[in-house]
């Protein structure tokens, strides 16, 4: 069987495009969790981002306003979560779940007027270079700016956590808020900031879906990707580079199983459909076996409320 090298390039490009929302949301949630806050509202924040981006694009006609607005919407809804969990010290898990249910409901309500409206074309970069290098061209060129940002984000996140002072503060707050507080760090402020950042990234992930990947609005269009993003954070043991690998495997298997179906491979389709979930978990568990490293990167105070009386 002759495999056209450009065909392989095309498949890899589709895999990367499908991984973008997972990478964005996971990297956002990773920062939130590294500060010790477990926010299960990823799906809700994504869907809010999706409707906000689409609505703003339709109403204002400006793509920049729409993308920034979607991120702002993610920030706003995560502010509710931050206020409840950090100021009113509510339970993280319950509040996060409520946030998801709230997000799905309110997005459906806002979205009523935006069903059946076609989206706008989102500009892509380096389109002219698309046919220059075999294999690599479709992978490297002709994508939206959000695409490039998503693939830079895991590296930026990794650098931020390991090499910067603020990154160290975030990790300190996540590991031992008491010690951090005694060092004069305002734990509540740091956690607020990390929650809002996570909200912004989830909003951007949602906007990518409704504005770039499949430009339209329909209810529940995130289709559970928020939950997959959450799982990726845990199974990657809070490591942004492994998030990138996990998202690529997940997106890759989803697309490859469609190709296998189209070629006519005789494997039960239900098994193929379940494959991405199974394999992603297995691979991430296998590459993250080192228990010492897991202990180092797991935020020790994840999901625990911090209450300081002063």
């Amino acid at each position: 069987m002759i495999v056209d090298i450009n065909f392989v390039g095309l498949i890899i490009a589709s895999i990367m495009a499908s991984a973008v929302p997972l990478i964005l949301a996971s990297c956002g949630e990773l920062i939130t969790e590294r500060s010790g806050v477990l926010n299960l509202g990823v799906e809700g924040m994504m869907i809010i981002g999706a409707i906000s981006g689409f609505a703003l694009m339709t109403v204002t006609g400006s793509l920049i306003i729409a993308v920034l607005g979607a991120m702002l919407a993610g920030v706003l809804i995560s502010t509710i979560f931050a206020f409840l969990t950090q100021t009113l010290i509510t339970n993280h898990v319950a509040t996060g779940l409520a946030l998801t249910i709230f997000g799905i409901g309110i997005s459906a309500m806002i979205g009523k007027n935006f069903v059946g409206i076609p989206g706008k074309e989102f500009p892509v970069l380096f389109e002219g270079l698309k046919d220059t290098i075999p294999l690599l061209s479709p992978i490297l060129f002709g994508h939206s700016i959000v695409f490039y940002f998503a693939f830079a984000l895991p590296f930026i996140t990794s650098y931020f956590l390991k090499k910067t002072k603020i990154g160290l503060i975030v990790r300190a707050v996540g590991d031992s808020p008491e010690s951090a507080s005694n060092q004069g760090i305002n734990v509540r402020f740091v956690r607020y900031a990390c929650i809002l950042y996570g909200g912004a990234m989830c909003g951007l992930a949602g906007a990518y879906l409704s504005m770039i990947y499949t430009p339209q609005w329909i209810e529940n269009m995130t289709g559970g990707r928020g939950w997959i993003a959450l799982a990726l954070v845990v199974f990657s043991t809070w490591n942004p580079i492994k998030i990138l690998i996990g998202a690529m495997i997940f997106g890759g298997l989803t697309i490859i199983q469609f190709h296998m179906q189209a070629i006519g491979v005789r494997i039960p389709v239900q098994f193929l459909t379940a494959l991405p979930y199974i394999v992603t978990i297995i691979v991430l568990v296998v590459i993250s076996r080192d228990s010492r490293k897991i202990r180092l990167s797991t935020p020790s105070s994840l999901g625990k409320s911090f209450h300081k009386d002063n």
Binding site: V115, L209, Q216, G223, T254, A262
Partner: protein, 356 residues
């Protein structure tokens, strides 16, 4: 004095009677039970367009969306029947048993169940649309317009409705172009734009230059537009989402039927029946044909449409063979409704197996 009293009594009686009749005629309340959200721009959305037509005809309507096909459906139905609704439309196959069960408890309320076959009580009617007639037209267009002879088909779930569509589409495409291959990809979802787009992309990357779909979102036609191949709209006219890709759409048009049935309740002429309407009755509508289609194809499609409407042509006319070469429908015969309703085998020319 007496006369006056009697006269006023009688006239007020008459007035009361007319008022009551008017109130009965006007106050018919219809309820709709939906499986998905009205914002899906597909199946449920089109039923809701039908509901709005009932509203426009002067009747009161309510709807409950996102009702699971479980014990929840029964509770919702009982609630609707209890709160003064005269006719209740249940718009998903899985509501079949709950509908019949609740209908028994409320003999004065009419129940209309979409896509089912059980009518256990005199107050239960069933209705469905012959979407496969629309797919015969799509297959004819696809078989003519393809250059690669590979046609992609994004399917949802392996149920007779979907298998029937694939078969009807493939038979029509083979008729105009014996060399075509239909490649099927099962997305296992009714609507998830991301997944649908990925399925369509896989088919396009493998050489399909016409994509058909039996899922609901517009992601597939948008993907086709991006890749420069042809596609068909599903459930509603999707032309504005992909003006170059969409050659035509098959629209679900429930409005006229709904208005009819609610009026029948108002007039007291409602009776139990099983309705399976197609292009001829306007329940299945073919949108405008794209100008990229050559004029002789357009003429052919229009003729086929008229013949399907009049019954001169049937989508499943023999000889039809299954994948193993066994005769399904003999030459000169057409498939009966019983066979169509339970169709769970591919016809010859479809690649792959039906997922079990």
């Amino acid at each position: 004095m007496h006369k006056f009293l009697i006269r006023s009594f009688v006239s007020s009686l008459v007035l009361l009677f007319t008022l009551t009749v008017a109130a009965v005629a006007k106050d018919v309340k219809a309820a709709f039970v939906y499986i998905g959200p009205t914002g899906d721009h597909g199946w449920t959305y089109q039923h809701d367009v039908g509901r709005k037509a009932v509203e426009a005809a002067g009747f009161k309507t309510t709807y409950v969306e996102g009702v699971p096909e479980s014990a929840d459906a029964e509770r919702v139905l009982r609630q609707l029947a209890n709160s003064g609704h005269d006719i209740i439309f249940t718009t998903s196959f899985g509501y079949m048993n709950p509908t019949n069960k609740v209908a028994k408890e409320f003999p004065n309320v009419k129940f209309e169940h979409a896509t089912g076959y059980k009518r256990e009580h005199p107050n239960v009617a069933t209705y469905a649309a012959r979407f496969y007639e629309g797919r015969t037209i799509l297959g004819t267009i696809a078989g003519t317009m393809t250059k690669s002879n590979v046609i992609g088909y994004v399917a949802s779930f392996p149920i007779p409705e979907v298998i029937r569509g694939i078969n009807s589409f493939t038979l029509a495409a083979q008729k105009v172009n014996p060399n075509i291959k239909t490649k099927i990809v099962w997305a296992f979802t009714w609507y998830d734009p991301g997944k649908e787009a990925e399925a369509a992309k896989a088919l396009i990357d493998q050489g399909a230059d016409v994509i058909a779909q039996h899922t609901d979102s517009t992601a597939i036609v948008q993907m086709a537009e991006k890749a420069g191949v042809y596609a068909f709209g599903q459930a509603s006219d999707m032309d504005k989402f992909a003006p170059k890709a969409v050659l035509t759409s098959v629209e679900n048009n429930w409005g006229p039927y709904y208005v009819d049935r609610v009026k029948a309740v108002a007039n007291g002429t409602w009776s139990q029946k099983d309705t399976w309407h197609g292009i001829g009755d306007g329940m299945v509508v073919i949108s405008g044909l794209d100008s990229q289609m050559p004029s002789d194809l357009q003429a052919k499609v229009k003729k086929l449409q008229a013949d399907l409407a009049s019954g001169k042509v049937h989508s499943f006319t023999g000889p039809i063979y299954d994948q193993k070469g066994n005769l399904m429908v003999a030459e000169g015969k057409t498939a009966d409704d019983g066979m169509l309703a339970g169709m769970m085998t591919y016809v010859k020319g479809v690649e792959g197996d039906i997922p079990k």
